[in-house]
């Protein structure tokens, strides 16, 4: 997958309204611009625009249904987006645990020195 597509994926999940939309689509198993706009503080037009961004990033897929399009989350692409930051976060958890261990060891040595 090219870097351009990856950048789109990143900025797609970077917006709070779009994350809220993904939440709703995941909980409800799907939705249209109309059903989503009823549950969000934005217009149907704005929702349609956000859906376009999510669609281009491969995070949702649309199925035509009468005059509307039903959107559902592409679970594989969504998992990929979540896993990326989770792995960076896990690396930081491990780093901070090591910072803690080193700092506490130094503190212990210094405290013992002042005691004696």
């Amino acid at each position: 997958m090219s870097v351009t597509v990856d950048d789109e994926l990143w900025s797609a999940v970077g917006d709070p309204i779009r994350r809220r939309m993904l939440d709703l689509l995941l909980t409800d198993g799907g939705g249209t611009a109309t059903t989503l706009s009823e549950r969000l503080p934005v217009t149907r037009q704005a929702v349609a625009k956000h859906l376009g961004v999510l669609d281009r990033a491969g995070l949702v897929h649309a199925t035509p249904s009468g005059r509307e399009r039903i959107y559902a989350v592409d679970e594989a692409q969504f998992a990929r987006a979540v896993a990326q930051l989770a792995s960076v976060g896990a690396a930081w958890d491990a780093r901070l645990r090591r910072i803690k261990r080193i700092a506490e060891a130094i503190q212990l040595t210094r405290d013992n020195r002042t005691d004696t």
Partner: protein, 154 residues
């Protein structure tokens, strides 16, 4: 979950002065993250983080620029930018350590931002610049087939 940044905090049973030393000096950085570090904890100073054996061509040397150095309260630096560029918002990731005195210890808060501005690519890079501890998980499985190949060669 905020996708544009990573925030973590941890309580450390050591004074902010000690924790500041650990997060900002090359000697201690080597103990918790890169294989080697070369930096002066002074605002504007540039340095490097080395991942892998620094004498080998396979090593990754990553430039960094110190942004804030305010002992024992805050230390921040920018990294993951192209060599030769001036690190700024938009072309790099910013790591900030905030230290707050908490009882006899310190609340250490780490924030890494810039993922949204820098794009997806930066997260892939940050994942690659992993520490030497988990680095072995990467190298060891690759070493075994290589050694097996040597044995089979007549």
């Amino acid at each position: 979950m905020e996708f544009g940044s990573i925030e973590r905090e941890i309580h450390v049973d050591a004074t902010p002065e000690v924790v500041y030393e650990v997060v900002s000096t090359p000697e201690h950085l080597r103990g918790w993250w890169p294989d080697d570090a070369d930096l002066e904890p002074v605002p504007g100073a540039t340095g490097t983080l080395t991942f892998g054996d620094g004498t080998s061509p396979d090593a990754t040397i990553c430039p960094l620029t110190v942004v804030e150095a305010d002992p024992p309260k805050r230390f921040s630096f920018r990294w993951v930018y192209e060599e030769g560029e001036i690190a700024a918002a938009g072309n790099s990731l910013l790591i900030t350590f905030d230290l707050v005195s908490a009882g006899a210890g310190t609340l250490l808060r780490m924030t890494e931002t810039g993922f949204r501005e820098r794009g997806w690519e930066a997260a892939l890079l940050e994942e690659q610049y992993n520490d030497h501890v988990s680095g072995w998980d990467y190298y060891l499985p690759r070493l075994a087939p290589y050694v097996a190949g040597l044995v089979q060669t007549p």
